[in-house]
Assembly symmetry: C2
Homo-oligomer: 271 residues x 2
């Protein structure tokens, strides 16, 4: 496995790293094809926003040099970038100044069944609910126990993803995807100011839809609205778009708007 | 610094560890004096409960052999035990079976000003609120960004600790301590089924108080109840008990019940 720490090949991280101690850091999961990354500006923008909100002194210029070199060496695969606050004193107080640590891990692209994109997927109804923490909402930070618990709820491969709701029952996202509905020609996705991860593909889908003149709403979504949707789909930066065909007793077709956006996103991923 | 991984001296952890990737693990901070740990059965009980709730296959018999050897080598200090779910496949799904990793770090005992225990401390009123996540409440897990944010709110050494409330404004705990009030002779501490860390010293204080015939209540605590308290104190497994003398415009005496419990806990820590 290809792996770098602070720009040099490495396989380990010091025990004093605050990523290990407290999940004190951020990550990005980046699709790499032909030595180039997809949606890299969006990944870096989200990372930058996360670093700002967590007061992590991210060295973006160094990353902008380091990442292309890593992508070139990886060639084809998934690049996982982890940025931690670096080594810590004992205790929660962020060291000042701190020396954030950059970790890059290369892995093969995941091989999902072609049917996920073609016929759509079945969603597992997770009972793990997302807590409301506005200070962390939207960020792809390293505190991911909720996702670990949710993903641990099912082993049956018939479920490609799980639906996550917040503590109030609102529809938020998948465990490793964002979720969209279509109702009466309007594209809907959850507002993520209380919980959830603001995926880079979610942002891309919203922008592509706007370019196509498709009306979009980003707001709270009640569970009943999901059940009454005309189309439902998931997205993330690795697989693009998967139609959702089934959740418990509800079934949806892979509808025209889903197919249109899926084709647009596929051409982006394949380019 | 003395540090072991899975029973052997080590200074690093593999990049694939799920503690780093997701904060997928638990920790304990244990006071060690004369080669022996204080409150070890309580630490192990909490760790065991955490492992059960997170479905981490904790090898308690191995820990029960390893820990005394580590404590003996450390002699005097703080032993931090981290248990992660071990190395992971890519993705949130917990590997089955998994091989949890045991990390032990030795550090000197923190040197707090003697006045913290004697005259009491000033509490910083943190604006970071604790999110409500019943599935994780009470556990000392590795998802600690809320504490990192809260502790980052102040640098002024005049504040020895910070007060953390939940999203509804209830009084929960300190950033690295539990909090107790005394009102009309009754000892009160927050119920921790929605958020917070159920400290081992909190459990010890409750048991010591019960032995002394002091009435105890564990329940939700409104902010106004804190302000109206006769006495307020903090506790954790390293420093024992600190009276709280000040929070914003409120001041409290280091009252008789605080002093009584403090003496009992001090004799326990010094023994």
């Amino acid at each position: 496995m290809l792996s770098w720490v602070d720009g040099r090949p490495a396989t380990d991280v010091p025990l004093g790293d605050r990523g290990l101690a407290y999940g004190d850091g951020l990550f990005e999961t980046i699709a790499v094809r032909g030595g180039c990354a997809t949606l890299l500006p969006r990944h870096l923008a989200r990372l930058g926003e996360g670093a700002q909100r967590l007061s992590i002194d991210l060295d973006l210029p160094v990353l902008e040099i380091e990442l292309p070199a890593f992508f070139a060496e990886l060639g084809e695969g998934v690049a996982k970038l982890i940025v931690t606050r670096g080594d810590g004193l004992r205790g929660y107080a962020p060291p000042q100044p701190s020396s954030p640590r950059r970790i890059l891990l290369g892995n093969p692209l995941p091989s999902y069944p072609a049917s996920n994109a073609e016929q759509g997927v079945r969603l597992f109804p997770c009972v793990t609910r997302l807590a409301e923490q506005p200070l962390l909402a939207g960020l792809k930070h390293l505190n991911r126990l909720e996702q670990v618990l949710a993903r641990g709820e099912w082993q049956d491969a018939a479920f490609a993803e799980g639906l996550m709701r917040d503590v109030s029952g609102r529809v938020i996202e998948g465990v490793f995807s964002n979720l969209f509905l279509v109702k009466d020609g309007v594209l809907l996705t959850a507002e993520l100011s209380r919980c959830g991860v603001a995926g880079v593909m979610r942002a891309e889908v919203l922008e592509q839809a706007a370019h196509q003149g498709i009306p979009c709403e980003v707001r709270d979504i009640a569970f009943d609205e999901l059940l009454a949707a005309d189309e439902v789909f998931l997205c993330n930066s690795l697989y693009g778009i998967w139609p959702v065909r089934e959740l418990a007793a509800s079934v949806w077709p892979a509808g025209p708007l889903t197919r249109k956006l899926q084709a647009l996103i596929r051409s982006l991923l394949d380019s």
